[in-house]
Symmetry: C2
Subunit: 307 residues, 2 copies
């Protein structure tokens, strides 16, 4: 059975996400103590793949994930999932909500349920710990009365009692995760795919605008952009881009080739089915048929078959 | 003496940054337990300003800072500083490095000195706690032998002994902080300024490319871009942009007015001196003189003073 790494300790949102990402096959999930270590295990072949947070995570440093994806040997994403930022309140057995005097969680998680805590546990002392999973562990050890945790934490600490399910101040906040592995056969296009790349450009005025024009001219919808300075090259910026479409699509392929000509480095980070399975809108002039038709017309022109 | 908020507990990198940001005036620094609470204190007038992390921080959630800046009443940045991501090793008195068996820090901080720990404290047990400051507090309480902390932490725990200064696996990693306050008179242009905005656009192909073209056409150098989905409006994206120049500059003013026409929302987040004080490169066709000259020429044309 293949082993799949995830950001530990056991019971985190990343474990929950990695279970979804590997739902279609049998796998042993193995916790690692940081994203860089988890990715190193994929690169060395110690594990087959890793589930990692890439957007707005409650735990784990997303910049660290992005950095780790772009150093050393290439890795590519083969699947994505979104996990709602909703928490369970897990307590010591026998306690009711009104008896909870101390509550623990990751500081970002406490911040995300600030309103709920103010309304439901206004007098409870709040304790910040290293992860939502560590909070559940500390409650199981008797250190605190209750933990704000991912739902999956309860499976690791079955003695805990769930006092509330799915709490969140903002109902639709999500965090996004990718399953990454060594390059190989790409996932088949599904018609609702996303492509991720990292591009390095130098600090010349207009270069980014030109880069994005290469996408927009081809009707490609950008779903995310993030810049990060390149550590060892002053004045160079690295851009993480996600856009609708699969590298097998003609418009995506043409755009990537154009970026390859324009940028000092382009790293392909994967084409994979979108978590929401919603086909992106492609305007008719950018469809596969339109590209096919224009290619056949050009061929005819070049061969002198048209006046 | 004015009170200035920062992301606590005392002894964090944000405290270190906020000291720098307030070096020019007398101020009482007051720790707050989260960036949203610190910004709420600025909005309510409880404090004059707040020091907050906005890029790649070791502590505090940068997405949470960006979100908190764009809800509720406007706030603007008036100063920026960069703090190197370098740590001190603070230990219980009497201990030498070779006697350190347990070491504590924020999980992101432990990740950032992974190489150093492997080389210098290969056998020490690592403990993840809620902040680098909490690690120093725990060492002062006798829970662990040593903490990986910001240099400033030692001032709050003077009993601790500094075993190492300025450790870091990557020498030039920095984290960026802003001092934000209620809108009022802007900082004077210095010739080396940065402007920050948040713009909301709908999910139409090409809109971002058009937006960036408004900047690049006017010779404006983008130093950072980050997209965040707008929570309550599906298909809308919020972009955080930082670029060289001051809103008092003609080219920046024109570009901002153009974005205001193009975007559903533009929030001005401040024009302030760049931390590195390096003037950005402005090509001659985008200089104040060139704008002045073209404006005078246009006036003359409109008044019929030129053929």
């Amino acid at each position: 059975m293949p082993e799949i790494a995830y950001l530990g300790p056991p019971g985190t949102f990343t474990e929950q996400a990695t279970r979804r990402l590997t739902a279609d096959f049998e796998a042993d999930l193995v916790p690692y103590e940081g994203v860089p270590v988890a990715l190193a295990a994929v690169r060395s072949g110690e594990v087959l793949a890793a589930g990692v947070p890439v957007e707005n995570s409650v735990e784990g440093s997303v910049p660290a994930t992005l950095d780790a994806l772009t150093v050393d040997d290439p890795l590519v994403a083969v699947a994505e999932t979104m996990v709602p930022v909703q928490f369970d309140v897990l307590a010591r057995p026998g306690l009711e909500l009104s008896q909870v005097n101390t509550v623990a969680s990751h500081p970002h998680a406490l911040a995300q349920v600030r309103g709920w805590l103010g309304e439901n546990l206004p007098k409870a002392e709040q304790h910040a710990v290293a992860s939502t999973a560590a909070a559940a562990a500390a409650v199981a050890n008797g250190e605190f009365d209750a933990a704000i945790s991912a739902a999956v934490a309860r499976e690791h600490y079955p003695s805990l009692v769930r006092l509330e399910h799915g709490i969140a101040d903002v109902a639709d906040a999500v965090t996004r995760f990718l399953l990454v592995r060594k390059p190989g056969a790409l996932p088949e296009p599904t018609g609702a795919d996303r492509t991720s790349i990292c591009a390095v450009i130098s600090d010349e005025v207009g270069t980014l605008a030109d880069m994005l024009a290469e996408l927009s001219l081809r009707g490609i919808n950008l779903s995310r952009i993030e810049s990060r300075p390149v550590k060892d090259r002053f004045g160079h910026y690295r851009f993480f881009l996600d856009f609708d479409g699969h590298v097998a699509d003609t418009r995506i392929g043409e755009a990537l080739a154009a970026l390859k000509r324009r940028c000092s480095t382009v790293r392909f980070l994967g084409s994979y089915p979108k978590a929401d399975r919603k086909p992106g809108y492609v305007r008719s002039a950018a469809s596969e048929q339109a590209f096919d038709k224009s290619a056949r017309w050009l061929e005819a022109v070049r061969e002198g078959r048209l006046a």
